[in-house]
Amino acid sequence: MPPRMIAVWCPDWPVTAACADVGTSDEGPVAVLTANRVVACSHEAREFGVRRGLRRREAQARCPELAVLPRNEAAEARLFEPIVLALESIAPGVEVTRPGLAAIGVRGPTRYFGSETAVLHALSRAVGAAPAEEAPAGRPPADPITALIGVADGSFAAEQAARQGIIVPSGESAGFLAELPVSSLDASGDSPLIDLLRRLGLRTLGSFAALPPGEVHARFGPEGAWAHRQAGGRDDRPLAARRPPAELVATLDLEPPVDRIDTVAFSARAMAEQFIADLAGHGLACACLELQAITENGEETVRRWRHAGVLSTVDVVDRIRWQLEGWLRGGSHPPTGGITRLRLVPVETVPLGVHQQALWGGSGADDERAHRALARVQTLLGHGSVLTPMIDGGRDPLRRTRLVPWGDAPVPEHSPEQPWPGHLPAPAPSVLIDPPRPAQVLDATGQAVTVDDRGVVPRPPARFVLGNEARAITSWAGPWPVDGSWWVPDAPSREARFQLVDVQGRAYLVTYTTAGRCWTLTATYD
């Protein structure tokens, strides 16, 4: 039999959280939307016929005074935290299914409190006393949180019991679930399985649970088999407990304030050792670290340090030294006082042993050395001064190259694998001119070359003037018209690209803008 569990369910949690976040009351009809679809609505809105999955228009048509709020998942998690803490005060090992729904096992606390009823009393007191998040100034204090509690065998049955606010006696969960509609299997309501079950004529969980398990597994796969076990009240999945978060942030207070880097680094050594040892105690190693330093006058420097492998104590001290060097010595705004506090926050951790360097030195050691040297140059010159190039999607050669600061993840804005019809064929120009330099392209008589609306060049280019320097053109190719952004009012860009080769054999990529009849040098084939 699955373990007996208590579930705490806050109805319409996205609505509660979104209202608390923007500081309005959730008294009237409220709907929370993601991607123009209603994901949750308040009870009043539901009475008007607003349902999950409706478009914004449809929802507003059914209830004109509907308040529409965007979904704020961060706020949902943040506001749910006091309730999770209240549950944790009853028993450790809280399973948070999602913000708004959490469960704990009953067995342990029952032993402690004496009976299930006593547990429920303690729980309702704890949840009722959960401090609602302090309301910011100028906003009404947050409404008390509505929470329903249910007890049943297994977390699925407990969730269903909490939705009705009832206690299902031990051993009767299967009977309780049998009456429920199949749509209870998936709260979000967009699972293809439920649709399929309905079309098969299985309207209640009981009728689904009555099917032989082997056949269900053969027909619906592992997910279907799991849903089948849940429907029959047989979800004996072990509780995936949330452990209280371990405090892995290391802090060092310096008293009196210190303005010498050597002194800070010396004092920080013990902290760095403790930091690495704490992580190692949890079987973790740090791959990305956030280092914060605060001066006595409140100035602050925060930087993230990523590492090719994992950070050792020496690496951490090195990074403290580099960051402070860059901050105290270089930079445009050196701090005015001594440093009073250092904090090390592990941003990314990896299990120990995942990051192992090649046994025989190999490339791993070189890569790490290179990363370290580049991080050092980054501290000398600033975070944005060391860049790494990446190929981005686009038609313009300038758009196709993007430089991102070293250490940031190179994520292209557009996929470079797409065909991008109209982009320049290989070979690519080697040097890009950013921003493009104004230039002049003249014909044999000294007049500016133009491109007409049909994309024809009436007089071929003969000379190319860049700055004060004029070069004779021996070969040219173009125009290749680029009709961009025509869908944006007032910002259509009609351009034509040309390749020009001068007498010295140098090749240029120039762009003609139809609107201004001007030429710019975009790139060179140096």
Partner: protein, 253 residues
């Protein structure tokens, strides 16, 4: 006498040991006539005249695991770097090192295999010596670009370049460039070497210029260079009398 011979043998061994300790960085096969032993670690290689030549030199080494940095160079196209075979995740670019130029180069030479840089307008002779010495002691390659660099081990420069595929009448496009590159230097590289290359070759990258293939207009030098001179020049041209619509259709095509 015996003493002297022994010392010679020992120094010879030490020399050999040092050479074997750090194998040179490989270069593309087309560049091997210019640099028969590749980019020797600890050397200073001066490049002038073409960013493409610089990228071509880095390409094979980077593809085989070397780290490269470009300091103070104009904005290099990532696409072109990719065409020459450079692994972009191992390429760092410092566009404007400012007054900390020498310090930044020094820090990079510690760990990055090839550091290419355009020196600022005025370089202190002491910096030149110090950085070359640092490259030597850390077994990396310093690659000054553009302005002259006294004491470079090898100097590579482009003598002449001629583009193919493009003509005086506005048709076709830049396809490849035939260049003559010379290498001269000190010590073992004292004898000047010259090579004819496609830089860039058709479709990007660097390739050997095969004189016979170019003359015959057939038997392409490599699969990438299938479009020979004759084929390109032989492309249909439109006479000046052709109607405008034909011209537009051809250009659209």
């Amino acid at each position: 006498m015996l003493d002297l011979a022994l010392r010679e043998t020992l120094t010879g061994l030490a020399d050999k040991g040092r050479r074997y300790a750090a194998p040179p960085l490989p270069v593309a096969s087309a560049l091997q006539p210019l640099l028969p032993e590749g980019l020797r670690r600890g050397s200073t290689v001066h490049v002038a005249g073409s960013v493409s030549l610089l990228l071509a030199l880095l390409g094979t080494a980077s593809a085989e695991g070397a780290w490269c940095a470009l300091v103070g160079l104009p904005m290099v196209s990532a696409e072109a770097a990719d065409e020459y075979g450079i692994e972009l995740s191992r390429l760092a670019i410092v566009p404007a090192p400012g007054p900390g130029w020498a310090t930044a180069i020094g820090a990079l030479l510690d760990a990055v295999d090839v550091v290419a840089t355009r020196p600022p307008a005025r370089v202190v002779p002491g910096d030149v010596r110090r950085l070359s010495a640092r490259a030597r002691s850390h077994e990396s390659v310093l690659m000054p670009f553009g302005a002259d660099w006294p004491g470079a081990d090898v100097r590579l420069r482009i003598r002449e370049g001629e583009w193919e595929g493009i003509g005086p009448d506005g048709y076709s496009r830049l396809r490849r460039r035939r260049v003559v590159v010379t290498a001269e230097g000190r010590g073992r590289a004292a004898q000047p070497r010259t090579a004819q290359l496609w830089l860039p070759a058709a479709g990007g990258g660097v390739d050997t210029f095969d004189t016979l293939a170019a003359v015959r207009g057939s038997a392409p030098a490599s699969p990438g260079a299938s479009e020979s001179l004759a084929a390109v020049r032989g492309a249909p041209t439109v006479s000046p009398g052709a109607s405008e619509s034909t011209v537009v259709a051809l250009r659209a095509g």
